[in-house]
């Protein structure tokens, strides 16, 4: 009998496992894939402030490139540059980073096991009381006081456990990513983001440098697009001088949640962490930070519940309350910004690129100064309705 079983060894699962093991609980962390961290489904960027806020000190082999800003390109080609003047973010090697996070959990005493597919939950008097699965093709069953679903955006565990987490499919972006080498990157210390309805409908296309001639090049687009995301990415690469001679070392795909936060992420003896609960920043789809932050909140709530020997839904509801207080409400604000962005035409993008500075953009992605944006939108009659949503 475990205190806690966690399904999914991504950043959210590993963080939850680490924090709980540190507190002395018996924790098992199961990963479906044969290798933690691979294949990745990610742009691999995270800001330094976020890394510090999580209290992480990742080893050098997890960091491919230090970033000091961003270049954001409007459909016209005009770039708005954000320059922090100092290192402000990392492009990670997710394979190494995820594995390191799992190592950290193991180091603190968690039992981590890859190639273990959890198919179903076990119940006692109707309440979730453990898992059923297959570990390296051996069937097994294990009991736990609490079960944590950190099994990603296609989370099956939450649904089998009895939480309806199906969200509007339009709140999930369709993503593809190439790891490219032998390319030219003009400014490897900046991340490069391309917007426009012909380039990446609703979403954006990114070039995240991993050195002077290697990059994570990817795209996320609205999920109901009749042209597959990979076609947009191929077209961009073929038409870009700096990229078209390059090699493709990896092809990855995946879904990127961009909203649809859940009010209720708990049941008796059960809670959800990370992408499985759509905990991402809805403007850029980044979830590495959100998942780990939520993992920490989850660990604190679980700690209290186990100490009180009360793991009921009512007790675990603290997780819903705390997550919404600390993250949900501000992410909801950012979601409004995304709703505006997805309604912009290429002309609107070009207009904004002329009017906005890099500093403005940074503020917006943090959910600040949205009134500035709203005022600009008001000057375009067809955008008045959108602007109102921001006030």
């Amino acid at each position: 009998m475990r205190d806690v079983i966690i399904v999914g060894a991504g950043p959210g699962g590993s963080a939850t496992a680490k924090h709980l093991s540190e507190k002395g609980y018996s924790v098992a962390l199961y990963e479906k894939r044969q290798e933690i961290g691979a294949p990745k489904r990610c742009g691999e960027g995270i800001s330094l402030g976020r890394v510090e806020r999580l209290g992480l000190n990742p080893p050098k082999n997890c960091i491919r490139q230090k970033i000091d800003g961003a270049k954001i390109y409007a459909p016209s080609g005009k770039a708005v540059e954000i320059d922090y003047g100092k290192d402000s973010g990392y492009i990670l090697e997710r394979k190494m980073f995820d594995k390191w996070l799992a190592e950290e959990a193991a180091r603190k005493g968690a039992f981590v096991q890859a190639k273990t597919y959890i198919k179903d939950v076990v119940r006692e008097r109707g309440r979730v009381s453990g898992v059923k699965g297959e570990s390296c093709s051996e069937k097994f069953e294990e009991k736990s006081k609490i079960l944590v679903a950190a099994d990603g955006v296609e989370s099956k565990i939450s649904r089998v456990a009895g939480l309806n987490t199906t969200c509007n499919p339009l709140l999930i972006d369709s993503g593809v990513q190439f790891e490219m080498a032998g390319i030219e990157i003009e400014d490897p210390k900046k991340i490069h983001l391309y917007f426009g309805n012909k380039i990446a409908p609703r979403g954006y296309l990114w070039i995240f440098p991993k050195g002077k001639d290697v990059a994570n090049v990817g795209i996320g687009i609205i999920g109901n697009c009749t042209i597959p995301a990979i076609d947009y990415l191929k077209k961009f690469v073929e038409n870009k001088e700096e990229l078209k001679k390059g090699s493709i070392l990896e092809v990855n795909a995946g879904s990127i949640p961009v909203g649809g936060f859940l009010k209720k992420m708990t049941l008796d003896n059960f809670l959800i962490v990370g992408d499985a609960a759509y905990q991402v920043n809805p403007i850029h789809g980044g979830g590495i930070y959100e998942a780990q932050f939520a993992g920490r909140i989850a660990a604190e709530v679980i700690d209290e519940a186990l100490q009180k020997k009360n793991t009921s839904d009512k007790q675990l509801n603290k997780y819903n309350i705390e997550w919404w207080k600390q993250r949900g409400n501000s992410l909801r604000k950012i979601e409004k910004l995304r709703e505006v962005v997805e309604n912009l035409s290429d002309e609107d993008f070009n207009y904004l690129a002329d009017k906005l500075t890099g500093e403005d953009l940074v503020n917006f992605t943090r959910g600040n100064s949205l009134v500035t944006l709203a005022k600009l939108l008001l000057k375009r009659p067809h955008l008045i309705k959108l602007a109102k949503a921001l006030f």
């Binding site: 955006v153 993503g175 593809v176 092809v251 995946g254 879904s255």
Partner: protein
């Protein structure tokens, strides 16, 4: 009708995440559809990042 192209598919599970009726599963044989649950809505086809799924809508329904 549900056609899954195993050569195009990257096994990313995207179709599973958008399926409104929980009808898809990623197994060692690839994407498997539960015919009883599938409502032929075609969301998975539109969503698939690499165009590996074709759904013919509402045949016999």
């Amino acid at each position: 009708m549900f056609k899954w192209n195993k050569n195009k598919c990257l096994r990313c599970g995207g179709c599973i995440s958008v399926c409104p009726n929980d009808a898809l599963e990623l197994t060692e044989h690839g994407i498997v559809r539960d015919e009883k649950k599938c409502i032929n809505c075609g969301i998975c086809e539109l969503f698939c990042p690499v165009g590996a799924i074709k759904v013919k809508k509402n045949e016999n329904k």
